[in-house]
Amino acid sequence: MISCTEFIPAYSELFKFLEAKGGKQEVVAYWEYISDNFLHNLRELVQEHGLRGCWLYWSHTLNEEAADFTMTIDDEAGEFSIVMHHCPSKGRLNQLQHLEPYHDYCGHCDVLYRRVLEPLGFECLADLSECEQARCSFVVREKRT
């Protein structure tokens, strides 16, 4: 068994394995597959609760992942945001002295979540400029006409 506490390095190694098979496009194809075949709970929560579905989804996952974060929702403005002060996944990878993380490890978050949320009427803004230091932010906004 690979423990769920060992998943992040396994995930990172899978990205490397796929890139060696067929380049970055193979990695992105996998991210799209994961989005389509694994994120049913996010999709269903947002379909049922709208923007608040994001709050429900990430309240569960980020607490279980022991993340250091600030999460806000402004229903009136139609905006949800996560400021990740210390990402538990990237943080763990950075701590492993013997293992080099996949060079675009953090890229998966933007692809996975954008692919679920944009077709449901939201725009997504990811700031990954500090992701090497395990910091990032993700904003989801209702598209209003």
């Binding site: 690979i2 423990s3 506490t5 060992e6 390095p9 190694e13 394995f17 980020l62 293992l99």
Partner: protein, 150 residues
């Protein structure tokens, strides 16, 4: 909502479902051997310190590792241990239990996350591995690590 890392334990069991999705993807896109190749690469990379400890300290290093990860996962295990042999009995794989309970698909080659990983843990060490029993439905298993004949 403001949380720090110290507010929660690190235990996100839905990662088992994500792992399973990845194994199934590899299987469907690249075939069975790609799944095993990937798991060998992962084991050599991530478990390099554990493999070194097995070579240096023997099966005690494996015993400590299994006791630690199965305790984290809340699983019931029994270990029979001697200097030359370790038998690990897992009553039900906690990953399989979580996936079945929450409706995640268990990958067709999920068994390889046990068999291939543990075989590869022994590769290059004085020990060998065999999976004696495995139940696909629950992940119940009996596994044996033993010193290779010299």
């Amino acid at each position: 909502m403001r949380r720090t890392a110290a507010d929660n334990p690190y235990l996100h069991k839905d990662f088992h479902g994500a792992m399973s999705t990845g194994i199934q993807y590899l299987h469907e896109r690249y075939g069975e051997e790609a799944v095993r190749d990937y798991l060998r690469q992962y084991t050599d990379a991530y478990h390099a310190p554990l493999k070194a400890a097995i070579s240096r300290r023997g099966l005690a290093a494996l015993q400590e590792y299994f006791e630690r990860i199965y305790a984290i996962e809340g699983a019931e295990i029994a270990i029979e241990f001697s200097e030359d042999e370790l038998v690990l009995k897992v009553a039900a794989c906690p990953a399989v239990s979580h996936m079945r309970q929450h409706g995640y698909r268990v990958a067709d080659l999920w068994i390889e996350t046990t068999r291939t990983v543990n075989q590869q843990l022994c590769a290059g060490t004085p020990f060998a591995y065999e999976l004696l029993e495995y139940d696909e439905q629950t992940g119940r298993s009996v596994q044996r690590f033993y010193r290779r004949a010299s």
